[in-house]
Symmetry: C2
Subunit: 193 residues, 2 copies
């Protein structure tokens, strides 16, 4: 299981056995059931997540409505904004499938960072890469219609459309479930000619 994590890290830096053991000794691997809530609104947290298997969802509640902002699946990591800003969380994080993930603590990371500067490099590179990736996603979102966004998702992350409930998907696409349903019907109609 941990091999998935080390394979991922190897994209950024090469680790010695000592360094790998330092990570393993932290006991960060967890297996959680579908529906588990990892973080609630108002909570203070220092935890970051990295999904090895399964899917977690970030959302917030506004006017009694769940607004789904992101999904993280295999090989994707997520540090909730509240961990960075050190303020109570505005977001919920929950597992929409049985999930295996690592949960790491920012204090713990700070300690590892100072012992092994290489980790700081990993974190910096990952943050920079995610920033660029998110920038591109944001720009694509801005410049396209709901229909284009759905088609784009179908191309880029077809798995999500299978494994995620429609209403969460609709919210993720910035539209209502009704619009998503209608939009899909329209696409099928078009493809028939």
């Amino acid at each position: 299981m941990q091999d998935i994590l080390f394979d991922f890290i190897s994209k950024y830096v090469t680790l010695t056995e000592d360094e790998k053991n330092a990570i393993l000794s932290l006991n960060i691997f967890h297996s959680v059931k579908k529906g588990t809530i990892l973080l609630k609104e108002g909570q203070k947290s220092k935890e970051s997540y990295f999904v090895l298997k399964g899917c977690i969802r970030a959302y917030y509640i506004s006017d009694g409505e769940e607004k789904t902002t992101s999904f993280y699946t295999e090989m994707e990591g997520f540090t909730p904004p509240c961990v960075v800003s050190k303020t109570p969380s505005e977001y919920y994080v929950s597992c929409i499938e049985d999930t295996i993930l690592t949960i790491s603590n920012s204090d713990m990371e700070a300690e590892v960072n100072s012992k092994f500067p290489k980790f700081e490099t990993i974190c910096r590179l990952m943050a920079e890469e995610l920033l660029a990736k998110q920038r591109i996603d944001f720009d694509a979102f801005k410049t396209s219609s709901p229909e284009q966004r759905y088609l784009n998702l179908l191309q880029k992350r077809p798995d999500l459309i299978q494994r995620v409930p429609q209403q969460q998907l609709a919210s993720y696409l910035g539209i209502t479930p009704q619009s998503l349903s209608r939009l899909r019907a329209r696409i099928i109609e078009k493809s028939k000619g």
Copy 2:
């Protein structure tokens, strides 16, 4: 002028005089005229920007249309995605006002990072903070209408509405210039009662 930069950095770490001099010796301060294009589509670049005074804009061209994705003003930094991904740029970056900024090179940064680990920490913290901030902006964009987005911008960055041409602002808000114009008229109409 450089004090602006050091004041900014002091939010993240405390620098010694030696460290400050190391930065100054790199000769990163530049003054550029309105309209100057800092980065073009297709170009390979390793340059990051930090605005001390003025405003720069990132955009790309699709179907002959400029799509404005972001503005950076005083105390804001920007590393184009192409620098991170090491591929030719999809974006243009230009100055919409006479601007004073720092332009730094990623090779240079790597060297400084290895000499002064503190810099790596600055870069990591900045990237993490920007990532969280951008996440929040993205989520707000997704869950609000063009009108709400305009009103939100009016609150959060009223200066942009003054200093940026309408068509660039419209594109930034993900709508057409006509819609922005109409939407503003609607808001004024409402405020009259």
